[in-house]
Amino acid sequence: MNLTPTLSFAEEIRKRSGEDVNLCYQCGRCSAGCPTSYIMDVVPHRLIHSIRLGREEFILGSKTMWLCASCETCSTRCPRDIDIAKIMDNLKILSVEKGIKTPVPEVSAFYSSALNSIRRFGRIHELSMVTEIKLKTHQFMRDLKLGLQMMRMGKIKLLPETNATRRGIVRDIFANVKKREKGQ
């Protein structure tokens, strides 16, 4: 067992997010204010400390960042001004880059389906996005009644709001982002 902290992981997070976890003095305010910490396997201040210790595998395999609701209470209340929510985003990105299987597949199914919807139409089309989530998670009955009621109220549209201009805008943006990220 390696007992020496691997400083490189904290450095990697700093490079990506601009946030320095070494400023943390473990007051636990982030975990205390976090609305979703009660279902996390590693609460936020423990996660930050684990980054300092270089426990990369432990962190990237945890559910924590996938259960983050991005409410930013932690970032707002941190007395050391660490943007913890931004670190959560970067951990999600890093774990996808490393091909780690997410322990909360419903959340990543939501992300990828929403992004597909934006890339295809320029704007999110709820009906096709939710259908894609259902196909990915096999939870076909979930929120079905709610969705049908919303359609009846005109709150979910049958057809996407799209045209060639919008499709062109998002096609270029997605392609250019991909090109630049591959080049890094």
Binding site: P35, E72, D83, Y111, G122, R123, K155
Partner: protein, 283 residues
């Protein structure tokens, strides 16, 4: 008064009544909303959870479109879009290299001349007599609590929007409209936001606490300014009631609907029939 208008995906679908009621009251107050014709999605949570470049480029592209239309101010009613716009501006203003890179990605040039504002800020900034002079109906018997949620105020260094723990801007506007505004401690608690699609149970629990507190202080309705908060608190209220063996029946209204009621507008003009929890008891 004239603003560029960015409704965002929710206001064209799940939050359609926010769009309808906001347009209706603006029309009454002679505020012109010039919708950016080919606006695209801001990227929201899925973009910033997947790529920083994407999450910054999508809002900046929309700002470039508003800039090209000759506007200096864009009104963004959805708290989630508003938050992404402000973050994209913050990131590019603090990182010149990123700003250049983003201009390359959007194949456009954003010169930085457009100010992003939320409708609450727009109303707070104008003379309240403009609102008051249209009030024809006394709604002082209506006791409300204002729920801001997460994205309007946090983090304060980026959003610069009222106090991050105890904001008052919506309370002041609801008071101007004539409602009786109650004090409560859940103003900026989280409803779970868009994670509702994947972690529904958690969202039911968070919303249950919010509804309980609104009940406890004696509110007749919760006033909101975000389509995600509205979806979770309104659409899922029957599910929450079933899960916790309780009957809340708290109507959730957008602040624009509350103002519209004070303006004497018809419920259907304000999209009040598009709610799961009927607001009939308030009418």
């Amino acid at each position: 008064m004239k603003y560029a208008y960015y409704p965002g995906c929710s206001l064209h679908s799940t939050g359609a009544e926010y769009d309808e009621s906001f347009r209706a009251i603006c029309n009454k107050m002679e505020i012109t909303l010039d919708e950016i014709p080919d606006w695209v999605c801001c990227g929201t949570l899925p973009a910033h959870s997947s790529s920083k470049l994407l999450s910054v480029s999508l809002p900046i592209k929309n700002l470039a479109l508003a800039e090209a239309m000759g506007h200096r101010e864009v009104v963004v009613p959805c708290a989630a879009c508003y938050s992404r716009f402000k973050k994209a501006l913050y990131e590019t203003e603090h990182d010149g290299e990123l700003a250049t890179e983003v201009n390359g990605i959007i194949e456009d040039e954003y010169k930085g001349s457009v100010n992003v504002i939320h409708p609450l800020e727009a109303f707070d900034g104008i003379d309240h007599n403009i609102i008051k002079k249209h009030i024809v109906r006394d709604i002082s018997n209506l006791k409300v609590v204002c729920y801001y949620g997460c994205l309007l105020t946090r983090p304060p260094k980026v959003m610069n929007f009222d106090n991050s723990e105890y904001p008052m801007i919506m309370d002041k506007i609801a008071e101007t409209a004539g409602a009786t505004v109650l004090d409560w401690s859940y103003k900026t608690d989280c409803c779970g936001g868009s994670i509702a699609l994947s972690e529904t149970d958690m969202v039911l629990e968070l919303c249950h606490y919010i509804l309980e507190e609104a009940d406890a202080v004696g509110a007749d309705a919760i006033i909101v300014a975000c389509p995600l908060c509205h979806s979770n608190l309104d659409n899922r209220q029957p599910e929450i009631d079933a899960k916790y063996y309780i009957e809340h029946k708290v109507p959730i209204l957008y602040f624009s609907q509350l103002i519209g009621l004070a303006f004497g507008m018809k419920p259907e003009e304000l999209g009040l029939h598009k709610h799961f929890i009927s607001a009939d008891s308030l009418l």
